[in-house]
């Protein structure tokens, strides 16, 4: 399992690199001249490119983050591997739920 988690984390990392670049670029562009809800939502609501992009981003993040956290739990908090896996799984589920909720809200799907 360790080998599989390792591979998944590296895979999601590679997938996310371009996502991060686009996201940081977008953020720097969007914050110019202040930010309002109306401004953001007028660009994102019903925008399927945006929805798919950030939907995939949320999915990758929900896999990538817990695997990294699991390592910290095992190595620094001295948790057993099983316990760390459970906590990681729960955190990943939380990220997925909150993330999809956010995408739905900003994408105007909710």
């Amino acid at each position: 399992m360790e080998a599989r988690l390792f591979a998944l984390q590296r895979l999601t990392a590679m997938v996310m690199a371009p996502f991060v670049l686009v996201h940081v670029g977008l953020v720097i562009y969007a914050v110019r001249g202040g930010l309002t809800a109306g401004e953001i939502l007028s660009r994102t609501e019903g925008n399927w490119l945006w929805i798919v992009f950030y939907g995939l981003f949320v999915l990758s993040v929900s896999v990538h983050v817990p695997i990294g956290l699991r390592n910290i739990l095992i190595e620094w908090l001295k948790l057993g591997r099983a316990a760390a896996s459970v906590i990681g799984l729960m955190f990943g589920a939380a990220l997925l739920v909150l993330g999809i909720r956010a995408v739905a809200a900003v994408g105007g799907l909710a």
Partner: protein, 244 residues
């Protein structure tokens, strides 16, 4: 020791961790000499001041790796460490190697180190018999070059002591065992390289390495377990992709 005759002689303060398990520091003074190694100092303390001090050494010329200890926080070969290079304000602090249970004073139990060595798949299995001609291994082949770059390990344990992942994760095989696995994986005479790769990636194997590189930083013969482990990771991924 009577120091009143030596009031003009500069002294080196030596703090040595003694005892079993946690241990306590004992402080000794030895004459300051321009050219002395940490091993010289430990030996002088044991022979002239503290006969009960336990420590290991053998060749004392930097080829056997037996004298490895923690000196001022870093794991190193004490016979290859000049006091003048490491002393801090006239003090050197000597402790046993980290990550291995202490037997007594500066002597550690290396059994787990060697058990992990075996667990990483480091048992060579030949494919030829005594009746076959010797294997013709080209030293220029890509595989042999990779193996040769890592082959000089003499199991001194310094990298194992330097590795934080070893200290954080009891199951981690460690840099030395994995470095050796890499050499065996690249040994064209070995019967089962797949098996080595499998063992090196199982449990807390090469995938637990976070590339801090402390092993590479402290290896007394300039090996790179960091590089070897990266090679194992790469080979494992490609093997996975090829359906291995």
């Amino acid at each position: 020791m009577d120091t009143t005759h030596c009031t003009n002689q500069r002294q080196l303060t030596v703090r040595i961790s003694r005892g079993t398990e946690e241990g306590k520091f004992s402080t000794y003074l030895v004459p300051w000499r321009d050219n002395q190694t940490v091993l010289d100092v430990v030996t002088e303390v044991q022979r002239t001041q503290e006969p009960g001090l336990s420590y290991r050494y053998a060749c004392r010329v930097g080829v056997c790796g037996s004298c490895a200890m923690t000196v001022n926080g870093k794991p190193r070969w004490t016979c290859r460490t000049h006091v003048s290079r490491v002393e801090e304000a006239g003090v050197i602090v000597i402790e046993p190697l980290r990550n291995m249970p202490r037997i007594k004073d500066l002597v550690v139990d290396m059994r787990e180190f060697f058990q992990k060595w075996a667990r990483a798949g480091n048992t060579f299995v030949g494919t030829a018999t005594r009746n076959d001609p010797p294997a013709l291994v080209s030293p220029q082949s890509k595989q042999r070059k990779l193996a040769d770059a890592a082959i000089e390990c003499i199991n001194c344990g310094v990298c194992y002591a330097a590795c934080d992942v070893v200290s954080w994760d009891k199951d981690y095989l460690g840099p030395a065992a994995l470095n050796r696995a890499w050499t065996l994986y690249n040994d064209e005479r070995h019967a089962d390289p797949k098996d080595v790769l499998h063992k090196a990636t199982s449990g807390s194997g090469c995938n637990s390495c976070h590339t801090q590189g402390s092993c590479m930083k402290h290896c007394p013969v300039s090996l790179s377990p960091t590089g070897s482990i990266a090679g194992l990771k790469r080979s494992a991924i490609f093997s996975l992709l090829k359906g291995g």
